[in-house]
């Protein structure tokens, strides 16, 4: 069984998450080869066949050309699986490759199970086991689902070239907005989620943060709704935090949020939905209406 692994670069650097592809291949028991649109001076410690295309020439984001490069490597390598990360790069490129090959794509694989691959569904609350019906399959892996693995060695390089244009032009990166609050230093973070209901309830959560001597965080929907500035956002597209105590108020626990806070020392989740995915990482799950429980807790802490 052969797996072609497609790693990622950002601003000239190989992303560390690319090593999760090797961790997955080991779980699968597959022989590996790798494809990178990257730089010769910035290669992984990996002793296998590495198809390399020059990011200086093809760009870090040029999906039409990257698709052709992946297809060229597939043609040479004849893999059973073409594996990406389920990231802004992977979920953008993988379906183009799968559609071109007219083969199955399984998105956001979290484990290898008997009879196929396990995928999350229903906003991470449920699981499906899915099996490709085609001889080749494209997979994307959920970030953090597989341990990173550094195989070691020096790659056997095979240079790839392609040509053509396409309708997509990458104009550049825009840096992240400046952080208003440096949550990384906070010992206690109390975060507000959609479950608080409305913007007017933000002070209730802020009062608990104050009572615990902490800072205030927020989940994505709260920031998107404009209830609090982006500087407070915890998660993949915000800040990654690991305070001694993290209190999640009305946060269901989207994978992007969990990735940003699951390394916290102690996690308390307050949610009226007992099955919310936040329960998977919580040390204590308080099953309650957040707007009833939080004021009660704050009042008791003040005593």
């Amino acid at each position: 069984m052969k797996a072609l692994l497609v790693g990622e670069y950002r601003d000239g650097k190989l992303l560390d998450s690319s090593y999760e592809l090797f961790g997955f291949a080991e779980k699968l028991g597959a022989e590996t080869s790798m494809l990178l649109v990257g730089r010769e001076g910035e290669l992984p410690a990996y002793g296998g066949t590495l198809y390399l295309a020059d990011a200086g020439k093809y760009g870090e984001y040029n999906p039409d050309l990257h698709k052709k490069l992946v297809l060229a490597a597939v043609d040479r390598e004849k893999p059973d699986y073409v594996v990406f990360l389920h990231s802004s790069y992977g979920w953008d490129l993988a379906p183009r490759v799968a559609a071109s090959l007219k083969v199955a794509q399984l998105s956001e694989v979290i484990s290898v199970v008997e009879g196929g691959f396990e995928l999350p569904c229903c906003s991470q609350k449920m699981r499906r086991t899915v099996k490709p019906a085609t001889s080749v399959a494209v997979l994307t892996l959920q970030g953090g689902a597989f341990q990173g693995l550094k195989p070691g060695g020096t790659p056997q390089l095979q240079k790839l070239e392609t040509e053509g244009g396409g309708g997509v032009t990458f104009l550049g990166y825009e840096a992240a907005e400046a952080k208003g609050v440096d949550l990384a230093k906070a010992e206690v973070i109390v975060s507000a989620g959609r479950g608080i209901g409305k913007m007017e309830n933000i002070p209730v959560i802020a009062a608990l943060a104050k009572a615990l001597g902490g800072e205030m965080g927020a989940s994505r929907p709260v920031v998107d709704s404009g209830w609090i500035e982006h500087g407070h956002q915890v998660g993949t597209t915000g800040q990654t935090v690991s305070p001694k105590l993290y209190v999640a108020c009305g946060i269901s626990g989207a994978i992007q949020h969990l990735a940003g806070m699951k390394k916290s020392g102690f996690i308390v989740a307050i949610n009226k939905d007992k099955d919310a995915p936040i329960g998977e990482v919580a040390d204590v799950l308080v099953v309650a209406d957040v707007m009833q429980f939080v004021p009660a807790l704050t009042a008791r802490l003040a005593k």
Binding site: K102, P132, D275
Partner: protein, 258 residues
């Protein structure tokens, strides 16, 4: 100009999900359905593009599924779409993402759409494949995870949301398809007059058999709840009692409360 926005109706995600008799998807009994959250941003952006161009573009909303999906389409029409296309399919939930994309592409192929909007993913299936696959089949330029959308002089410029809050700025030639991320805009609430107006808008019904010519590429073997990893303590009951117990636990297990 012609614009298409593709939407899905999904269950409320706070629902309890149980397998149906097939064992490979959820039972619909006791579930309340609504428009997929990502698609609300797609509809809003499509309506804004129509408004930017003085109302000239014709804006079509398409959805695949049983009769209940018409409710979600009516909301899109009340938000400002001009007409609906309901692809009637009582077993859409058993089609894989490439089949869904093929159905939409088969409808769109001869329609000369300039811009197609979809959500980044559905909240229930979550494959994030359908939009990109439609673009691939139709030969449209495409960008995913869009958090800012601009249209000027026949070109689309978007910001893609990358990890760590970084954005990628990308220009697309039309015809183009974009998949919309949460936070792209603030979706409007339909007003009562617009809800009334929407009732008179045309919804064309198309049987799925007219558009589906694609075999499934993947097979779902089972649908189930995850094994409970939660080793945590669950506090239920009276709020005052819960607060008391939580404070006790925090005093014992963390150095935060003294």
């Amino acid at each position: 100009m012609k614009i298409l926005v593709c939407i899905k109706q999904v269950p409320d995600m706070e629902s309890r999900f149980r397998p149906d008799s097939s064992g490979v998807w959820f039972s619909e009994s006791d579930l309340a359905f609504r428009m997929n959250e990502y698609d609300e941003y797609a509809v809003e952006q499509a309506v804004r593009l129509k408004e930017q161009l003085g109302g000239e573009p014709e804006l079509t909303v398409l959805s695949i599924g049983p009769d209940r999906v018409v409710e979600a389409m009516k909301k899109a029409l009340a938000m400002g779409c001009d007409r609906g296309v309901h692809v009637q399919d009582a077993s859409a939930q058993h089609k894989d993402p490439f089949q869904i994309a093929s159905i939409i592409a088969a409808y769109a192929r001869d329609q000369q759409f300039d811009v197609i909007f979809t959500g980044l993913q559905s909240q229930d299936r979550g494959s994030a494949q359908v939009g990109v696959a439609i673009a691939e089949i139709l030969g449209f330029s495409c960008a995913t995870t869009v958090v800012k959308f601009e249209y000027a002089d026949g070109a689309v410029t978007v910001r893609r949301e990358l990890e760590g809050g970084v954005k990628g700025i990308v220009q697309l030639k039309t015809p183009a398809l974009v998949t919309c991320q949460l936070g792209l805009n603030v979706p409007r609430y339909p007003t009562l007059p617009n809800i009334m107006k929407a009732k008179k808008k045309e919804i064309l019904a198309v049987p799925v058999a007219d558009l589906l010519h694609q075999e499934p590429l993947a097979v779902t073997a089972s649908f189930y709840a995850p094994a409970k990893k939660g080793t945590g303590i669950v506090l239920e009951g009276d709020v005052a009692d819960q607060a008391e117990r939580l404070i006790g636990i925090l005093k014992e297990k963390t150095a935060v409360l003294r």
